[in-house]
Structures are given as C-alpha cells and as structure tokens.
C-alpha cells in the first residue's frame, strides 16, 4: 500500500486528487499541504508526493524536488498549463515524471501508481519539452533514442512506439530512461546573450509569443 501526498496551492486540487486516489486498491491518500516546507515534517508519512509545478511561494521546482527527495519520497510533478521552459526545468530534477492535472482520471491514476512504485513516468509533454530543447541537439543520444523521443513527443505511448519501431515495449522504456539520464547530465547550458534574455521567459510566467 503506497501512501500518496500532494503539495498544491489549491484546496480543490487536493480534493480532486484525494477523490481519485481513495477508491484505488493499492494507493492511500496521506496529506494535502500548500508548501513543501509544510510537507516535510519530522516523520515521513508519504511514499510519493505529487508536486505542483508552480507554487506561489516563489520556490523553484528544483529546490522543491530536492527537499522532497531528501525527505525520502518519490516525486511526480503536476502541471496545469506551463510553458516548456518550466517543464524542462522540472525535467532536470530528480522527479519521476511530469503529468498534467487535466489528464483523464484513469490516465492520471496510472501515472500516480507507476510513480508510487518508483518507476519513471514519461509523458507527452515531457517528451515534447525535451525534444524541442536545443541543448539536447548536441547530447550523446543515438539516432534510435531520438526517434523514440520524437514519437513519444507526438503523443504515442510506449506500446505504440514499440509497435511502430518493431521493438519490445521494454526496449522503448529503456530508451526513455536513458534519455532522462542523459538530460539530467547535460544540465543547464552556459547562456549566450540572447539566451540570457530568453531565459526571462523560463521562469514560466512570461508566455512564448505566438507567431504568424
């Protein structure tokens, strides 16, 4: 029985997640807190913490995930609607995955169950944010890995990617895990002047303008 807690600004989100988890057989709802500081008490009472990507206390996903990992819990990041920069920032942390709050209930529950078991949870948004990250262009990824990432970013699941590439689902998951590891290693790139400016939008609040 895995214990699941959530850190989110909104009471409503806590209620919704609780409503989702309580009927599940092998999951148990632990707590809902508004900040990570309130979550990490002296006793660890959760195995998995669902973490809101942009909390209002000016904390960064990086610090929050680090604090929760130190506490001993796995982390799954939840997003409502954020730009890819913030998702990339979260992808560089030790979180198991990034899922959007508006996913259909069953899909979100699957993701929570996988994360509670300590498994990597790749999602379309995660893959899309990485697939478009210019810093990944020069990363040591094989052509096959890039292909997997691209297909995954297009919305396919591991099984669908496996079918499309005539490989096993396990192989696809291995590729995804390695992509995640490589992405962790490259870290944040040294910024050129223009990048430095664009980083302004990486705090996740300033939107990326629509073109054309």
């Amino acid at each position: 029985m895995a214990r699941v807690a959530i850190v989110d600004d909104h009471e409503l989100v806590g209620l919704a997640v609780r409503g989702l988890i309580e009927p599940a057989a092998d999951l148990e709802f632990a707590r809902h807190e508004r900040t990570v500081a309130e979550m990490v008490g002296p006793m660890r009472d959760a195995d998995l913490v669902l973490l809101d990507l942009s909390l209002r206390d000016d904390s960064s996903p990086h610090e929050n995930v680090a604090a929760l990992r130190t506490w001993g819990a796995h982390v799954l990041v939840l997003t409502s609607a954020e730009n890819p920069f913030l998702i990339r920032e979260a992808s560089r942390t030790d979180a198991l995955g990034i899922a959007r709050k508006s996913l259909p209930g069953a899909v979100l529950l699957d993701a929570i169950a996988s994360a509670a078991a300590g498994e990597h949870v790749p999602t379309t948004e995660w893959a899309s944010a990485l697939d478009t990250d210019p810093t990944l262009q020069s990363a040591p990824l094989t052509a096959r890995e890039r292909e997997v990432l691209s297909l995954y970013a297009s919305g396919m699941g591991a099984r669908e990617v496996a079918t499309a590439l005539f490989v096993s689902e396990n192989t696809v998951n291995d590729h995804l895990r390695r992509i995640r590891a490589v992405y962790h290693q490259i870290g944040r790139p040294a910024a050129t002047k223009v990048d430095l400016y664009r980083r302004g939008i990486e705090d996740g609040f300033v939107p990326v303008p629509r073109r054309g």
């Binding site: 600004d9 948004e125 899309s128 478009t132 919305g155 705090d203 300033v206 939107p207 629509r210």
Partner: protein, 720 residues
C-alpha cells in the same frame, strides 16, 4: 561657426585628439625651424610678419598641449585664433614682401609658412571641413603666386609645396572623417541608450504582469477543473474557487497598449467603426512620441469621418510590420476634394497632417474625392533600418576623397620627378624612384580586403624602404629636400597603408625612413635645413596620418557595436510587444470563455453534464494559450473546442520554436488539423514539429499517426 548641436562625448574626444595632433605637428615644425639657422636666400620681410606666424604656432601648440583638459568651446576658440593668425600672416605676405609695389625682394618664402598641415587640422577643429578646405585653398593660391613672383619655382619649392598640400589634404580628409564618425557614434549612443532604458523598463512591467496573469490563469484553471470533475463533497470548495477566480478576472481587465488604445478609439466611436489588425511577430515598436502622434491623427481622422462622411462603413486598419507601422482610417462616405479644403477645416490641416509631419519618420497621405470616400493613411518607419545608410554614405565620401588625393599625389609627384629628372646628372634615377613608389601604391590599391593582409603590407613597406635606400644612395651630394623628394612621398603610401588597417606596419615604415635619413646625414653631405625638413614632413604625415586612421577605425567599430546593441534592444522590445499581445489574447480568452461559466458556479448554480463538459473544454482552450502557439489558426480553435465537448482529450503543441511558418502553409495546415480533429474519438495530439524534421506537423488521432504534408516516401505509421 559653432553649430547649435551640443558636442557629444566621442566628438569631443575626437576634437581633442585632432588638436593634440595639431600641437604635435606644430612642435615638429617649430623644432625644425629652431634647430636649423635660417639659411640665406630668404625673402626680406618686416619683423611683424614672421611674428604673426610664430604667434599662430604658439597658440596652436598651447591649445594642442592643453587639449585633453579643454571644454569643446575653448578648443574651438583656441583653434580659431591660431587659424586667424596664420591666415593673416598668409594674406599679409603679399604686401609685406613688396610684391604689390613692384619692388619685390627676391628670395624663398619662410619654411614655417609652408607648414600648412597642422593649421588645416586646426581649421577643421574650429570650423569644420568648409573652413579647412578654404584655408588650404587660400594657402595654395598665395604660396603659388608668391613663389612665382619672388624667385620662381625651384625643385625644392615644387617638392615641398606639393607635399605640404598633400599632407594637409590627407590629414583634413581623415580628420573630417573621424569627426563625422564620432558625431554618428554620439547620435547612435544616445539613441541606443534611450532604447535600452525604455526596453528594460518595459520588460520589468511585462514580467510583473505575466506573473500576475499566470496566477489568475492558475486560479481559473483550478476552478474549471473542479467544476468539470464535480468530485463528491467538493461543491463548497468549487464554489469558493470560482468566486476567487472570477474576482481576480474582474480585478484585471485587459490593459491597452497603443494598438489597444487605437482599438478602443475605433470601438468607442459614436457610430460603428470596424477594427482590423495585422501584426508580425517581430513588429516594430513605435516610441511614445510616435504613438501620441498616431493616436491623435487617427482619432482626428475618425472624428472627421463621423462628422463629414455621412452614413457609411468605416474601418481602422492597423499593420505592424518589421520596419514600421501603418494605420489607415477609411470610409466609403461622401468624400471631399483635398485640394479644396478650406483653411477653417482645422481637423485635417493641423491635427492630422501637422502632427504627423512634426513626428520623425512619420508620413501621412489623404486620398479622397467627392462621392468616393476618404482614406487617411498614416505610416511610421523605424529609424534603425536606415541608420546604416549614412555610415555607408560617409564611407563612400571618404573613398572618393582618398581617390582624389591619390590622383593629386600621382600628378604632383610625377611633376616633381620630372623636374628632378631634368636637373639630375643621371635622369632615370628620379623616374625609377617614382616608378617604385607608384608600384607600392598599386600593390596596396589592389588588395581585395578592407584590411590588407600582413604579407602584402610587409611587401609594401619593404618596397618603400628599398626605394628610399636606393634613392638616397643614388642621389648626388649635396642632398636637398628637392632631390630627396621621394622620402616624404613614400610617407603618403604609408598613410594609405594605415588607413587600410595596418597602422603598426606604417609606423615601422616611418621608423625605417627616418633611420635611412639619419644614416644618410651621418655619412653623406646633406644640407642640415633640408634634412630636418625632410624628417619633419615625413614624421608629420605618417605619424599623424596613422594616429587619425586608428582613431577613425575605432570610431567606426564603436558605431557598429552601438548599432548591434540597438538592433538587439529593438528585437527584445519587439518580442516583448508580441508577449504583451499574447497576454492580451489570454485575458480575452478567460473573459470570453471562462468567466460566464465561473460566475454561474460562484453564484452557487449546479452545472449539468453538458456544462461540465464545457468547463473541461474551456480548461483545454486556456491551456492551448500556453502551448498551441501557431496551431491556433483558422478553424482549429473551434474544431478543438468541439472535440473537447465530445470528450476527446486534445493536446496541441507548437514545437517549432523561433522559425516562422508561411501564412499559406499555416492555413493549409489548419484545414488538415481540423479534418483530423473532427475525426477524433478519444485522444488527439497535434504537433507542429521542430525545425529540421522531415515534416511540418503531425497528428496522433486515437493512436494513428498522420503526417503533414503527406509524402509518398513516408507511409503513415500504424499504432495499434
């Protein structure tokens, strides 16, 4: 002579450097004049006449040495006094020497009076190019007349005068170029600084606004999801969340930028006025003055139409383009004859035409005819696009000037060589010297790049040194300025080398020439006054020429750097403007889609199944604001909404990044996406692919992948 424009920092530095150079040149001349006792054969002059020249030099020297600390006005005044003294010495030479009385005392004119280079630069500092060239012209005339009237032209006279003229012309040309470049740099700096400051302030406001908007969005999304899920026992929390969200939306009406103000102007008119906006992403951002003018003029144009055009259709069209903006106010009403507008119709006369004409970069055109409607077209062009043009024009001026001086060099030095050949015991020697100099100049001229390669530069320097060495060895004693004319002449080629980016090599060449002169003085018979004159002239022309050339190159480089900064600032400002638009669009979306629904929830109304589906669809629509980007074109937003209402989980991702997509492509893509969206039953992911992929976009429809544009070589991948 001083113009009204204040002197900028770079320009002041340039003027100081120029005057310092003048001081240095005068110091060299003075040392030359003092080191050597005045030789015989000078024309007899009253004592006050040379005193004028001496005073001119003393003032120049004092001003030049103090230049680094003098303010702009004193610099100019000092240079002006020196020039005035020198000019009076020059003008009084004619009566003082007795030329007018018909009893001229025969002899050469004082050497100091022929040292015109420094004074020309001083004239440049005091009164600009016009004064410099005027002084030089006057000097040429007086000296030529005096030479002829007093003792005719000697070889030394021809060589000295022609080279003094060349020195002055070269220094004046480079100095004027440096002054122009520094004035441009000052203008560019102040423009850039203003732009950067504006951009930074704007950016701070933008980030604050974006942050606030993100929180509003977050609250709205949470409320929408709560309403859609309607989890048992959450009714009170959903209502509280909806109340908070609607409160925040009410508190933050979409703010108006200048386009927004224009839109408000059109939409708030007494009668309907349509508003059309076309905006490119990197659109220009007009400054406050321009915005003010455009708003005033457009408002007046709308008012005129409402008052005079009668019942008709009216439209305000705004186009924001990369290099400017256009605002058109058009109606199909009564119209009028623009030529017959009475003076009392002040609306058009002052507000529209007047306001716009006073605004830099702005233009206005009024097209109207009785019965044919009226169109007022306002346009503003961004300056940055044209700021490179004057720099280029100045460079052309410089090149034309250098060519003229090159031609003057060839003509005068050929004459000197011919005169020298006629007088020389072995005539081919001066001809060969001339050929060597012209060869070096030609090698330099043929260099393809603006900056000459090291090798070519070294060849030029070596050739010049060889010509000087061979020439000095072959010239019979006693060596005079006239017979050693080729040494200063080689100096001019070195100046050209400095202008082509090899100032160091030019100075090395100068050292070689001076060393050769010193060696010759040591081992052979050279008239001392001639040796000093030769050295002084060569030192002046190469030393100052190289100094000013380096100054010019630096100024140009700084100007380019400023232009780069300005372009960067403009690009950021454009990006920020696009972000503002994005925020506006989102605020409008929230207002249009989410607010009505949330207000009902906040009032405590129970939502039906259909309305909960609608809340889910609106949640998706608002999320699209972050990630769908260019995919939200044509019929896609409606088709996505319809699919979401059917219960399809729709995800739209614009992953293309910075690179644009052509409008026709986008329109076709939107049609294609819509077809697939309409077919989706459970899950749909539409994605604009990153640059460099084989396709522009792809769609995942219930597990099936479709690619756009469909290519025969790529078969679509079947999922399940």
């Amino acid at each position: 002579m001083a113009d009204a424009r204040p002197t900028g920092r770079a320009e002041l530095t340039t003027r100081r450097t120029l005057l310092f150079a003048v001081g240095a040149s005068v110091a060299i001349s003075s040392v030359a004049a003092l080191a050597v006792a005045d030789p015989g054969g000078r024309v007899a002059l009253p004592a006050w006449q040379p005193a004028l020249t001496t005073a001119a030099f003393a003032v120049t020297l004092a001003a030049g040495l103090a230049a680094p600390w003098l303010p702009a006005r004193v610099l100019r005044a000092g240079a002006g006094v020196a020039v005035a003294l020198f000019v009076s010495a020059l003008v009084t030479l004619v009566p003082a020497s007795g030329m007018l009385s018909g009893r001229p005392s025969v002899g050469t004119i004082p050497w100091a009076l022929t040292s015109i280079g420094g004074i020309t630069l001083a004239a440049l500092v005091a009164g600009g190019s016009v004064l410099a060239w005027s002084v030089l012209g006057l000097w040429t005339a007086v000296v030529a007349v005096s030479r002829i009237a007093l003792d005719g032209y000697t070889l030394t006279g021809v060589a000295n005068d022609s080279q003094a003229l060349l020195t002055a012309a070269t220094l004046a040309l480079i100095g004027a170029g440096a002054l122009r470049a520094s004035a441009r740099l000052d203008a560019a700096s102040s423009r850039t600084e203003a732009a950067v400051a504006r951009e930074a302030a704007e950016r701070g406001r933008l980030v604050a606004r974006a942050r606030a908007a993100a929180f509003v969005h977050d609250e709205v999304l949470a409320a929408l999801r709560g309403a859609a899920d309607a989890v048992a026992g959450s009714a009170a929390a959903v209502r509280a969340q909806a109340e908070r969200a609607t409160g925040m939306v009410r508190d933050r009406p979409p703010p108006a930028d200048w386009v927004g103000q224009l839109r408000a102007l059109a939409e708030g008119a007494r009668e309907p006025v349509a508003f059309e906006l076309t905006r490119s992403a990197d659109g220009a951002q007009p400054g406050e003055v321009v915005v003010e003018a455009l708003l005033t003029a457009a408002g007046q144009a709308i008012e005129n139409s409402l008052r005079h055009a009668g019942p008709c259709r009216r439209v305000v069209r705004v186009r924001v383009e990369t290099d400017g903006v256009r605002v058109e106010v058009r109606d199909d009403g009564r119209g009028f004859d623009p030529a017959a507008v009475r003076a009392d119709r002040l609306g058009i006369a002052t507000s529209i035409v007047g306001v716009v004409r006073e605004t830099p970069g702005a233009t206005v055109r009024i097209d109207s005819a009785p019965g044919a409607g009226t169109a007022v077209a306002l346009a503003w062009r961004a300056e940055s696009a044209s700021s490179a043009a004057p720099a280029r024009a100045a460079r052309v001026t410089m090149r034309v000037g250098m060519r003229a001086i090159g031609a003057l060099f060839i003509v005068t030095q050929s004459i000197v060589a011919v005169v020298a050949a006629v007088q020389a015991p072995f005539w081919p020697t001066p001809v060969l010297e001339l050929a060597g100099l012209l060869l070096a100049a030609e090698i330099l001229r043929r260099a393809p790049a603006r900056t000459v390669t090291r090798v070519r530069s070294a060849v030029v320097v070596a050739l010049l040194a060889a010509v000087a060495a061979a020439g000095l060895a072959a010239t019979p004693a006693p060596i005079t300025y006239g017979t050693a004319w080729f040494v200063p002449a080689a100096g001019f080629v070195l100046v050209a080398l400095a202008l082509r980016g090899r100032a160091g090599h030019a100075l090395a060449g100068l050292a070689a020439l001076l060393a050769l002169l010193a060696l010759t003085v040591a081992v052979r018979d050279v008239l001392p006054v001639h040796a000093v004159s030769l050295g002084a002239r060569t030192l002046t022309v190469v030393g100052l020429g190289a100094l000013l050339a380096v100054l010019l190159v630096r100024l140009r480089r700084s100007t380019l750097a400023q232009a780069d900064r300005a372009v960067l600032a403009a690009r950021r400002a454009a990006w920020d403007a696009a972000v503002q638009d994005e925020l506006d669009a989102r605020a409008v979306d929230v207002d249009r889609y989410a607010r009505p629904l949330l207000e009902r929830v906040a009032r405590g109304e129970e939502l039906g199944e259909d309305e909960r589906a609608q809340a889910r669809a609106v949640d998706g629509r608002l999320r699209d604001g972050y990630r769908a980007g260019r995919l939200l074109a044509g019929a896609v937003p409606e088709a996505a909404m319809a699919a979401r209402l059917r219960g399809v989980d729709v995800l739209l991702l614009d992953d293309r990044g910075e690179d644009g997509v052509d409008d026709p492509d986008l329109a076709a893509l939107a049609g294609w996406l819509r077809t697939h969206l309409d077919a989706a039953q459970g899950r749909f992911v539409g994605r604009l692919l990153p640059v460099g992929r084989e396709h522009l976009a792809q769609a995942l429809v219930d597990g099936r992948i479709a690619l756009y544009p469909a290519a025969e070589s790529v078969s679509s991948v079947q999922g399940e």
